[in-house]
């Protein structure tokens, strides 16, 4: 159950220079709380969300929770 990105680039945390790793991250939007796998710096916990995810499923979830 991992987010599959076609982008196989290895990402480095600019601040810590450590390679990002997939880790469980708590996401909160509106009143919804979710736990998902995201790329994260093992040192500073900075999370990286790639463009495909931000404009794809993440946007779909945001729209699904959007009120009218």
């Amino acid at each position: 159950m991992k987010h599959e990105s076609n982008d196989k680039t290895k990402w480095l945390c600019d601040k810590c220079q450590r390679e990002l790793e997939l880790a469980k991250v708590k996401v909160r939007y509106m009143e919804g709380n979710f736990e998902v796998d995201l790329m994260k710096c093992p040192t500073c916990n900075q999370v990286f969300i790639d463009e495909a995810l931000a404009l794809g499923k993440m946007k779909e979830v945001e729209e699904g929770l959007e009120d009218k």
Binding site: M1, H3, E4, M30, E31, G32, E35, D37, K68
Partner: protein, 419 residues
């Protein structure tokens, strides 16, 4: 509201009652502009509907009454249907009506209504034609009798692309149906739900709420709806208005307002649903409706998914209409869960991940609870008329705000219907 007329004297009408003050039920909007009006301003609101250039909101839902025939003869009927001598609209006329909506309002939500639309054997062709013209969401407004009796018909509607059913559902016991509809109907409504479940058609339960008849059954209706989730997507309450065919002239004490309904829901559900979870609409005038969105948890617990909108600030009416249309499509459509891949694959054929599971939860286990108060000749407010987003299409292709299309005076005369 107090009104006076030089010819008929003074009148009082009840607009709002309940623990939430009417002054708090606001959502300010920058009016939308109708780019291709079908009528000119001549006599002034509400006599130039079409839409006219002074209208302030786009179409969210366009209604087409495909027949005036009906297989019930209800005491309350805004359409005053059961005129079984009327000719049904021809396919050519319906096509012109669809095209006029597309020209004026673009791809909005379509509701096929009546009369009882399922009395037409060619309803599937009407649905297919709507999709072909470019409408992505088509809903049928029905009493459910034929949908309960005729499974093959339901299958045919689904195959034609029916997205959702707006099911007349006044209560959880037959005493209510006998009083409002003249006979026991609960068993056939359940049969209709079974058929919609079988073919993955989303259903919204729509009670007409009348004081002392079914206003004490609201929590039971909500519980019933939750038992039928995810086929049933929500409950949409319509407090009775006094237009079309009505049993008596209004007794203002018995009139139910949106404020009354919010209080009753909170009390009857013993605060399982709190009135704070309801918001005024971003599309139509705030005083026309309320709504709440919830996530269904185990034991039918409902978690509110929207906090009440901010009362400060101003939003664009146009944006409100866009959101309302998208919201209805997402929340009231059926979920096609029957595909064998559903449990493991997402819509793009990839293995499911956490985000897909969240989307499943949002799409299948969300629940909407809403109410819309229609206006009648006694409580009419032209500001609400100008902000209306629910438009009935007449045979000339004009779009008439719903309450104006159905408005009748004390003697039953209308200004738009049958004109």
């Amino acid at each position: 509201m107090e009104k006076s007329c030089p010819e008929h004297g003074r009148f009082k009408a009840l607009l709002w009652r309940g623990s939430i003050p009417i002054e708090k039920w606001v959502r300010n909007k920058i009016p939308a502009t109708i780019e291709t009006p079908n009528t000119l301003v001549d006599q002034g609101c509400p006599f130039d509907c079409g839409l006219c250039p002074e209208h302030r909101q786009h179409t969210c839902t366009a209604l087409i009454e495909v027949t005036q025939r009906c297989n019930l003869n209800c005491s309350f009927c805004f359409a005053d249907a059961n005129r079984n001598y009327d000719q049904d609209l021809s396919m050519e006329t319906i096509k012109l009506m669809y095209q006029s909506v597309m020209n004026t309002s673009g791809d909005c939500n379509i509701q096929l209504s009546g009369g009882e639309p399922t009395l037409r054997d060619d309803l599937h062709l009407i649905i297919a034609m709507g999709h072909k013209i470019g409408f992505s969401f088509i809903q049928v407004n029905t009493n459910g009798i034929r949908m309960g009796e005729d499974e093959a018909y339901v299958k045919q509607l689904k195959e034609a692309g029916l997205n959702s059913v707006f099911l007349q559902f006044d209560g959880t016991n037959d005493e209510i149906y006998k009083k409002l509809r003249g006979k026991s109907l609960l068993a056939i409504k359940i049969k209709a739900l079974e058929n919609c479940q079988k073919y993955n058609i989303g259903v919204v339960l729509v009670p007409t709420v009348v004081a002392n008849i079914n206003d004490d059954d609201l929590a039971n209706i909500i519980d019933f709806a939750l038992d039928w989730a995810p086929t049933v997507k929500g409950v949409h309450l319509q407090p009775a208005s006094y237009f079309g065919r009505i049993p008596t002239l209004p007794d203002e004490q018995k009139r139910l307002t949106l404020g009354d309904l919010m209080d009753k829901i909170e009390a009857q559900t013993e605060k399982r649903i709190c009135k704070e979870s309801f918001s005024p609409p971003g599309c139509e005038n705030a005083r026309c409706s309320f709504h709440g969105n919830y996530s269904i948890q185990g034991n039918k617990e409902l978690i509110p998914m929207n906090q009440r909108s901010q009362c400060c600030g101003v939003e664009k009416a146009e944006e409100g209409a866009r959101k309302a249309k998208a919201h209805v499509v997402r929340k009231w459509s059926g979920n096609d869960l029957e595909s064998a891949d559903h449990l493991e694959k997402n819509s793009e054929g990839q293995s499911k991940d956490d985000w897909d599971s969240i989307l499943d939860q949002i799409n299948c286990y969300s629940f909407s609870l809403s109410a819309m108060a229609f206006q009648d000749v006694w409580n009419l407010d032209l500001n609400r008329v100008k902000d209306c987003c629910i438009h009935v299409v007449n045979t000339e292709g004009k779009l008439i705000p719903f309450c104006m299309y159905n408005l009748t005076d004390k003697n039953g005369h209308s200004i738009y219907r049958n004109q």
